[in-house]
């Protein structure tokens, strides 16, 4: 589609910056919002975007990055599918003199000079915020508080980190106990099917912690079908704050959401320009994120973009 160039003219010649961006995939609504944000802000910032969807495969991302190097783009950015395994290709980028920006997820390279910066949420922190809210809520509880956890896709970074952060936070109160934890694959159907069984296996569930809104929304249905009132009989904590989740929160069906914002686009474009201009930038930039309670959700909902 971009074969519009009449001759072999290098698009870089017109002074326009070229950004090569490799996305993880399109596996969730969150991801699509992320993609759209990047595309739109690239247009606004007058940056030519080479976009590639890796369909969840690291191999594809590496291929894409290599091709961006060949095409001599000005900056490369990507959301790594997995944390490790980037050194080789990043080194190639470095040797070619192309700066790299990580978005959304980090890499575990020891050599921090391989990329300029990492912009994205802190999954551990999201888990921690969720846990801290719960600890605060249950300060007064005397008996044990039974928690069930809906994990994300087994082995994925968000799932690992959110679990970790949450676990660390709730260790503060020995009454809080995770009595069941199972993967719902980040999907509504998965969340629902797992929750159905949780409900049957455990007569007393006080809290549900879901690694994303979608699983929480699926679990909502299971809880309702079991004759319980979500938000009251079972408190629900989730992460992401996509529109449907915020609606549920505003309706009082969820109790707490830790935001994980997909709208990285403007920040990223800003960075691209800075990097190209040779400005120094911090190694780690966190996306501006917050947490929501039902009241805050009600207030925020009308102006939310996704």
């Amino acid at each position: 589609a971009c074969g519009n160039s009449d001759t072999g003219d290098t698009p870089a010649d017109d002074g326009k910056l070229t950004l090569g961006f490799s996305q993880v995939g399109a596996e969730s609504g969150w991801r699509t919002a992320n993609t759209n944000s990047i595309k739109e802000s690239a247009k606004e910032a007058n940056i030519e975007l080479k976009f590639d969807d890796a369909q969840g495969k690291q191999e594809n991302q590496i291929t894409a990055i290599r091709n961006y190097i060949q095409q001599k783009v000005d900056v490369i950015a990507f959301s790594p599918v997995v944390e490790s395994g980037w050194d080789t290709v990043l080194k190639e980028a470095k040797d070619a003199g192309i700066p790299v920006i990580l978005t959304d997820r980090s890499v575990d390279s020891a050599d921090k000079s391989l990329y300029k910066t990492f912009i994205g949420s802190d999954f551990v922190k999201e888990g921690k915020l969720s846990g801290e809210w719960l600890v605060n809520e249950t300060k007064t509880a005397t008996g044990p508080v039974n928690i069930v956890e809906l994990q994300g896709t087994t082995g994925s970074a968000p799932a690992n980190d959110r679990k970790k952060g949450f676990g660390e936070a709730i260790a503060a109160n020995p009454n809080l106990k995770i009595i069941a934890s199972q993967t719902g694959e980040f999907t509504r159907a998965g969340g629902k099917a797992v929750m159905e069984q949780f409900l049957k296996a455990n007569p007393k569930i006080d809290v549900l912690f879901a690694h994303n809104d979608d699983m929480g929304l699926g679990a909502l249905e299971a809880i309702t079908a079991a004759g319980k009132v979500p938000g009251k009989d079972i408190k629900i904590i989730t992460i992401d704050a996509v529109k449907d989740g915020m609606q549920a929160l505003a309706d009082g069906k969820f109790n707490f959401i830790a935001e994980c914002s997909p709208l990285l686009g403007p920040q990223l474009m800003d960075l691209v320009k800075k990097v190209k201009a040779g400005e120094t930038i911090p190694q780690r930039i966190e996306t501006q994120e917050t947490t929501f309670t039902p009241e805050q959700a009600k207030a925020a909902l009308p102006t939310r973009k996704y």
């Binding site: 995939g25 399109a26 596996e27 969730s28 609504g29 991801r31 699509t32 993609t35 759209n36 994990q151 087994t154 069941a180 934890s181 199972q182 993967t183 694959e185 980040f186 999907t187 509504r188 159907a189 998965g190 629902k192 099917a193 797992v194 159905e196 069984q197 949780f198 049957k200 296996a201 979608d214 929304l217 699926g218 249905e221 079908a225 079991a226 004759g227 449907d244």
Partner: protein
């Protein structure tokens, strides 16, 4: 006594004996782990319990499995069913989400019609690739497996379309006569498919095409048409399953809906005793296989088997079920019987090739 023995031999020799045993064993294991597993109680005028869940959740798998059975019987395979679930669910939800009144029955019916219609088109596409152009089924359907997910996401524009439509929701979680509506739909389709294949000569003709396509052609069977037909049937089954999957959570997720259902469906078909090489097929076997697989999935949740080991668990169960079901395995461990039918199957099972 000898008649009892003979009867036992007949029962244990039945192709569905071992899947049934495995199903019962899983249920028993669950009951031991949690004595309340089998209880079914009345709640809000409908039945509630793990067994009901298993039936309801197995419904889409049964549907996809039925279509898959026919495809496999012709010697083909349909990898695109998962994508087709996602597509039909997506188009239906998209249509409903655009209605001013999402609860209006008319709008929902149009949505269902759209989904089925699109499935028909996609099934026809697969069928045409296989029967007219002559592409190997696994590759022909791989095309739609890959592109279909993209189509589904194109329809939803990458978002999860959430709807709020009671009539549509009932397809997935509604109740009829105290039981989930989904069960009735699956049973209805199963009966329909059974009637169409076994009450007419279609079943035999499908088996004949799958058993020996060239011989069938020379016997005057329009093999191409039959092949075309089974892919269309499979697509429609997948389409209906797509409604259930999306209605279950009142939302269409182009990426996750029906993910990996093709593998489960193929597994169900094989556990049910239909050979992947084509030929003889068993619809009841497939239904049983689907129930077994769903029970297995539910067991993982119910027993809270850790996500790390759940795949290992699944691998072990699958291989055990297939092993005890395999005639060769049974022959090797049933040497005490005086007459062991050994080699003939080994020799004759291989597909006969047609010289150029």
């Amino acid at each position: 006594m000898s008649t009892a023995k003979a009867r036992w031999a007949a029962v244990s020799g039945h192709s569905l004996f071992w899947p049934v045993v495995a199903l019962v064993a899983l249920l028993v294991a669950n009951t031991i782990y949690r004595p309340g597993f089998l209880t079914v109680e009345m709640k809000d005028g409908h039945l509630y319990g793990s067994l009901v869940d298993i039936l309801r959740l197995a419904a889409p798998l049964i549907l996809v499995g039925l279509g898959m059975t026919l495809v496999i019987a012709t010697g083909g395979i349909d990898l695109s069913v998962g994508s087709m679930c996602a597509i039909s669910g997506a188009i239906a939800c998209l249509h409903i989400s655009r209605q001013p009144d999402q609860n209006a029955l008319g709008g929902v019916l149009v949505a269902l019609a759209l989904g089925i219609g699109l499935s028909l088109v996609l099934g026809a596409w697969n069928g045409a690739l296989v029967s007219i152009i002559g592409i190997q089924p696994i590759i022909a359907t791989l095309i739609l497996m890959v592109a279909g997910r993209g189509l589904a996401q194109l329809i939803t524009e990458g978002q999860i379309i959430t709807i709020n439509s009671e009539p549509y929701k009932s397809v997935g979680v509604g109740y009829l006569l105290t039981l989930p509506l989904a069960i009735f739909i699956a049973a209805g389709v199963a009966l329909l498919v059974a009637a169409v294949t076994r009450r007419t000569a279609l079943g035999m003709i499908i088996e004949s095409v799958g058993g020996n396509a060239e011989a069938s052609r020379l016997a005057g069977i329009r093999s191409a048409r039959i092949t075309f037909l089974v892919y269309v049937i499979s697509a429609v089954c997948a389409g209906i399953a797509g409604f259930m999957v999306t209605a279950n959570v009142s939302s269409a997720d182009g990426n996750a809906a029906g993910l990996w259902i093709e593998l489960d469906a193929i597994l169900a078909v094989v556990i049910g005793g239909t050979s992947l090489a084509g030929g003889r097929f068993s619809l009841s076997g497939t239904i049983l296989g689907a129930l077994l697989i769903q029970t297995l999935t539910t067991t993982v949740y119910a027993m809270n088997i850790s996500p790390q080991t759940s795949l290992l668990f699944k691998a072990v169960v699958v291989i055990i079920v297939c092993l005890v079901q395999a005639p060769a395995f049974r022959a090797k461990f049933a040497r005490r019987r005086p007459v062991a039918p050994v080699a003939p199957t080994a020799v004759d099972q291989s597909k006969e090739q047609v010289p150029a």
